[in-house]
Symmetry: C2
Subunit: 360 residues, 2 copies
């Protein structure tokens, strides 16, 4: 067996210790005689897995008691739809702040269910910064203000929560959830697909303040009605059990690795090492405003785009994969989520240095 | 490691050979250096997994070229909603035939999107038979006629397709898909959650005649718009990759085990053995009309319900699990999907005999 250093933007690298545990108990989960894939979701074995996962998530993220935690089918893209259906609450529309392509997509889907006000956008700057909060045109009657705290494609991240003057702040945290300590109480709702910092794709976590749910529009599918799912412990139907289980193992791994404080420090160090190198020379370049740079996704370009293919080929040969930038922006991107080690980042930097030295 | 004989209704037992392969390649899928859980869905490794799965499914089920195969997020319950949204096609309503609780749930969700005509129902008979097709009150202008070919809770199964006079026949085949040869061309659409005969929960397969899609109502979420998903090879968003991968291994296992013809023969033998025993004595009883009995889910009651707890306790001790009947009907239920072996069924029968001998 060999393992590569995987910089994929998602699905993404998982902690090796978690994968080894999954492998060890794959045919017989802790003496149950079954794989987790084979368990009825109503059996006490799976119920304990599900409840432990929620308990550990609440503990590591410090989720207050007046917030519900839902484990839903599918990915964040599904919530682009179900979020406005659940949270319209008799209002007429929503505020969306666009700092990248994912926020744009979210706003577009929301437009099917209410009036979307683009309160701010950095599209004119090719999404290389967060628009100054002072310039946001917020609607005090909006059902919520939606932000994408980390934009995976553009590598732009909010480093503090914006003030929304009582209007619930809603965040698609798919690509930076659990990457550092967070004050949940500043949000009305947080949602995140699992496949970056949590576990395998196919499950989405929603953390929602309980006073915001229970008024879904009538056409909301039952299994995506937050209130119904909260009342049924996310088991109105068969949940994505295996993804839930692996997510729970990742939560335990975070606990054992210093919690969000420890994870956050390591993430800051990893990102700083790569940005410091990029900023120290002219061959590679990151276009994002320094104050708004992502700790999770670091896009960079080569001085000469004709060398891109060579760079990727050499990286692959050196055991570094998933570095190709998103097709919409080109260049490279290193996604360095929680499970990426400092050694992996160091190996990338060494490779970049050597490539620049020989081809620059 | 011990493995139990698992009669759970779903999630359910999987072929041991498939689980062993998943385990062997869990940390490094065929020299890629990654777990399947860590692969970008856009990478060639995962693309080959996805495409192979579709190819094998088309081959074993004999899916005609004018049918699209979709691998969607979530379970069949989600499709209770997305099916009517996709297939209304300018009509005003749908025909639903109720032969159990799942059909009832499907009809209820469809009512949010159009007029539901209950064309036939056996609820007055406690869902112990299929209503005679001659008595069905079909609407010739319905968007489709919906049936549930196998009702998991009640153990009732269609053994041939009803004639719907040109109105598309739509089937929730979650609990008997791939259990025997099937003539796909008799259906407009088939859908099935994976967690009985296919793979881990969290993925749903839709097989749809291509002329029926492309007219979804405007409020349909993009990722559940069959046409958009067909045009994007089910990858408009990150799919449930790991469930897709395991499903593909199950398709290969079916190919290697005689295809649907071989599987169907074995399923018929397994079910016959259990029904023959039940019908040969008075201690256990199955209430379903003989012509409509399921080959997948076999509910049975004990002569004295006060012995139920003892029966389950003894079964567990004998390594037989998941036999408790659904709470809505009580008694017992043996779910004997494709991956259940003849030896497993024989072990159950032997246990039932011994229990009846000592407690009857």
């Amino acid at each position: 067996m060999k393992r590569i250093v995987n910089f994929s933007a998602g699905p993404a690298t998982l902690p090796l210790a978690v994968l080894e545990q999954v492998q060890a108990e794959l045919l017989d989960w802790r003496g149950s005689g079954m794989s987790v894939m084979e368990m009825s979701h109503r059996d006490k074995e799976f119920m304990s897995i599900a409840q432990d996962a929620e308990k550990d998530l609440r503990e590591i993220a410090g989720i207050p008691a007046n917030y519900k935690v839902l484990f839903l089918q599918g990915g964040a893209t599904g919530q682009f739809t179900f979020l406005p259906m659940n949270l319209l609450r008799g209002k007429t529309g929503f505020d969306y702040v666009l700092t990248g392509d994912w926020g744009k997509k979210a706003a577009k889907e929301a437009g099917k269910y209410g009036k979307v006000n683009i309160a701010a956008s950095s599209e004119a700057d090719k999404f290389t910064r967060i628009p100054d909060v002072k310039t946001w045109k917020l609607d005090p009657n909006a059902a919520y203000v939606h932000i994408t705290p980390n934009e995976t494609i553009h590598g732009v991240e909010f480093h503090q929560e914006p003030e929304t003057n009582g209007v619930p702040l809603v965040a698609d945290m798919s690509s930076n959830i659990l990457s550092r300590p967070i004050d949940i109480s500043k949000y009305g709702l947080i949602y995140a697909g699992a496949q970056k910092n949590i576990g395998p794709s196919g499950i989405t976590i929603v953390i929602v303040r309980e006073d915001l749910i229970g008024q879904a529009v009538p056409s909301t599918p039952g299994i995506f009605d937050y209130k119904q799912m909260a009342d049924n412990e996310s088991m109105l139907n068969t949940p994505p059990c295996f993804s839930w289980y692996v997510s729970g193992l990742v939560f335990k791994w975070i606990k054992e690795n210093g919690g969000l404080a420890g994870i956050g420090e390591r993430n800051a160090r990893k990102a700083a090492a790569l940005y410091d190198y990029i900023d120290s020379q002219d061959f590679y370049r990151n276009p994002v405003a320094k104050a708004d740079r992502s700790r999770m996704n670091i896009p960079f370009t080569l001085a000469n785009a004709e060398l891109d293919a060579d760079f990727l080929k050499g990286a692959k040969a050196a055991g570094l994969s998933g570095l190709k930038g998103h097709r919409s922006v080109g260049g490279m991107r290193a996604s360095i989520y929680n499970a990426m080690t400092q050694e992996g980042v160091n190996a990338l930097i060494e490779y970049m240095k050597e490539f620049a030295r020989t081809k620059g």
